[in-house]
Amino acid sequence: MNDFAELLNDLILSPSRKKKIDLLKIFFCKSNLKDKGWAFCILTNRMDRKFISVKELKELIVENSDEDLFRFSYDYVGDLAETISLLWESNNEKNIKINLHEFMEIFSNFDHKNKLKTKLKYILDRSSENQRYTIIKILTGGLRVGVSNGLIKEALKLSGVREKSEIEEFWHGFKLPCTDLFEWLDGKKLPRYINRKKLFNSFMLANNYNSNEFKSYKIDDYIAEFKWDGIRAQIIFSEDGKIFSRNGEDITNSFCDINTFTKGYFVVDGEIVVKKNNKVLSFNHLQKRIGRKNPSKKLIEDYPIHFIAYDILFYTSVDCRALSLIERKKYLNRFINICKLSNISTSSLIKFSSWDQLQNIKETSLNNHIEGVIIKKKTSLYKKGRVVDGWYKWKRNPFSVDFIIMYAQRGHGKRSSFYSDFTFGCWVDEQFTKLVPVGKAYSGYTNDELKSLDRWVRNNTVERFGPVRSLKPGLVVEVSFDNINYSSRHKSGVALRFPRFSRIRWDKPISQVCSLKYIKDLIN
């Protein structure tokens, strides 16, 4: 446990990528097989569940410390694991000696919450601050220690005999506690349960469009298609079909109205949207379906799913990833023709003869649910991640509206000491007397602006509710957002898509901010 706690601490404090890879490599080389496996699972967030809820942790710390002092401390530190590890009053017992895998095995096998809490308390009492931090991070999931999967793959390559491409290929196949991964890295055979055809394949992603670069590019070398506002998904069509989200999560059950059963093996990349009466509906409609593991019949009827296919990775035994985009599109069309499903279609290509024309199409397209366009090089292969000279996204110009800041909340992680999350709103009506919250934003400002905002919040607080401060109406911010729609979830009746600060209007009086009616008029 101690070695792993030290590894985490060192990873957090190491500024360079190289140093982090070194630290991981050293850890993977010197630790025993079981510890390595679990460490890998923890670092790549493969745990299938949280062992303990935030609520239960809070109960535990309040039993150990004073409730008010915990609240003040948590508000200050901004990280639950760190707050508890610092606040915990250990009773000076000797440090417990427990291996990482022993710890993980104990906590994986608890089904009785009270027993788990008692055991956790026992261990925390006998741990150092750094160990407590690590333990709580493990139990709540989501380490955020600045270690990307790419970095771990690099370290794995260096600590075994496998090539990076092999590691990439089977990355998603290994199961908890992943000891077999390390045996495989050392040269042993793949575990039997790994079936390559059931595995998620990494997505190809788009770079941001750069107009200067593109001026010199030949139109003929590229195709363009619409970027739909849905969720990116990868569907494996086979006898045991699967649907994966952008980060490889299995979402097959949520979208069971797509029939993934077929003879053969086809892997298709595309976008899931809600489509009704031949019209694609807004992202808000899709949200009703996201995260619902067993959607009811009614939900499926009300919000029918449609899959817009962009690309194909495997066509039976053909690995299309090694083919050019144009070749892949042919295979994709062939697949769509043979599968004959009404809720799957190919993404249509946009006809354009100049970049200016394409821009025009992008901005004036009447369909509200297009985020922009994607430009793809015809000769590009299907590769993982953002590939140079591959795909480019060119988003629509965002909406931009001035709002008034109403509430602020302290950020977490790197921004833990700053008020960085803001709720903004506008006037309820033309009387300009009452405000209504419209959205929340926590990006778009520079670090210096964040410091100024933080100072403003502290000087203009009216009331405090835990980590949230309600503020005197006085500061106007220009907020950009990609789209706007009606929403019954929000008090204002509207929902903004990806709102972020574009400018802080220190100069602008709040009386010049618009009313809700103006905002609603933007929808159409």
Binding site: L13, P15, D66, F72, Y133
Partner: protein, 336 residues
């Protein structure tokens, strides 16, 4: 300020004002008469007409602001009771930095103790804190949260020495406050047998020489400008925290950046400042030391200032102390 037991203490724009004594304590704007607890710039501001403080603090202020900044100064001595208008003032060591003192102000038999900044851990560069019974105690709360539990300073220094040994080809660049922390760290290093020359950023040399003159042994220290670029490797360089991430520090190519401060307790603060080697070394009392001090001076009332007042006031109130926050302006939230 909420109602306190003392109606002869006022909060003014310039700072805390003692009515019957007609003086200010650590004023943020210039006043006629100022009592100064210690020479850090947020407590000892320039341009006061008349100053009352310890010998070292007055000399440090001369060093900072020039000989002519104030002509009327009065040195306070321990074991002396000075009458200032209608009050008597006594000083006691505060254990914060060289020359730091507390003021015990007696008005008609009521005793007010103003601690200034203080700590209870032993520090070879200054006199140790001396508690004294009082009726009202004004305490700082820079680290007034129970998450602050400063580790033993020995372990922190060992951490630094270990890192220097393990990274032979690297320069160790450690951020320290020019007055107090710098000299305390050097003294600790010397006590642990580190006897290499320690290199200082220009902003640290004047005050370090002052400490040497006051019989605090710092060993071989030298200005970094006297060291050629090729010699940087394996050197220990101290600099003000603000220089850690500025242009000056870019001349060191292969560095381990450290920072000696109580704030280094919190990982995310360490991350925010791009620090690889956090040294939790504070010249302020941590939570436990504050509570211990409150018990030692055993007041009827505790007034809290500088930092995280809320938590301390909340806790002390629960422990049946009359307690409130002073809410003085002008003290930067996170200075140490």
């Amino acid at each position: 300020m909420r109602k306190t037991n003392i109606n002869w203490l006022k909060k003014k724009r310039e700072g805390l004002y003692c009515v019957p004594g007609n003086f200010f304590i650590d004023p943020v704007f210039p006043v006629d008469k100022a009592l100064i607890t210690h020479a850090h710039t947020d407590h000892a501001r320039p341009n006061n007409k008349s100053i009352f403080s310890s010998k070292e603090t007055i000399e440090l202020m001369h060093l900072r602001y020039g000989e002519s900044y104030c002509s009327d100064f009065q040195i306070a001595y321990f074991d002396e009771k000075i009458k200032i208008n209608d009050v008597t003032v006594q000083i006691l060591p505060a254990g914060h930095i060289l020359g730091s003192i507390q003021f015990l102000i007696n008005y008609k038999g009521y005793r007010l103790l103003i601690s200034g900044d203080y700590k209870r851990t032993e520090d070879k560069t200054c006199l140790s804190y001396e508690p004294v019974k009082c009726d009202t105690f004004i305490t700082e709360a820079t680290f007034g949260l129970p998450i602050f539990n400063h580790p033993n300073d020995q372990s922190e220094v060992k951490k630094l020495i270990k890192s220097i040994k393990e990274n032979e080809n690297k320069t160790h660049l450690i951020g320290v406050y020019a007055l107090g922390k710098c000299q305390r760290l050097i003294t600790l290093l010397r006590n642990h047998g580190y006897d290499e020359t320690i290199y200082l950023h220009g902003a640290l040399t004047k005050i370090s020489k002052f400490y040497s003159k006051n019989n605090i042994k710092l060993g071989n220290i030298s200005n970094i400008s006297e060291c050629s670029k090729s010699e940087y490797a394996n050197k220990l360089v101290l600099c003000p925290p603000s220089s850690l991430n500025d242009k000056w520090s870019q001349k060191f190519k292969n560095v381990v950046k450290g920072y000696a401060s109580g704030w280094m307790r919190i990982r995310q603060r360490v991350k925010q400042k791009n620090i690889e080697l956090p040294l939790i070394l504070s010249d302020h009392a941590d939570w436990g030391e504050i509570l211990k001090t409150v018990n030692d001076v055993n007041p009827n009332e505790v007034l809290v200032t500088h930092g995280r007042e809320e938590a301390l006031v909340n806790y002390l109130t629960k422990k049946n102390f009359k307690s409130s926050a002073l809410n003085l302006i002008g003290f930067e939230d996170e200075n140490e």
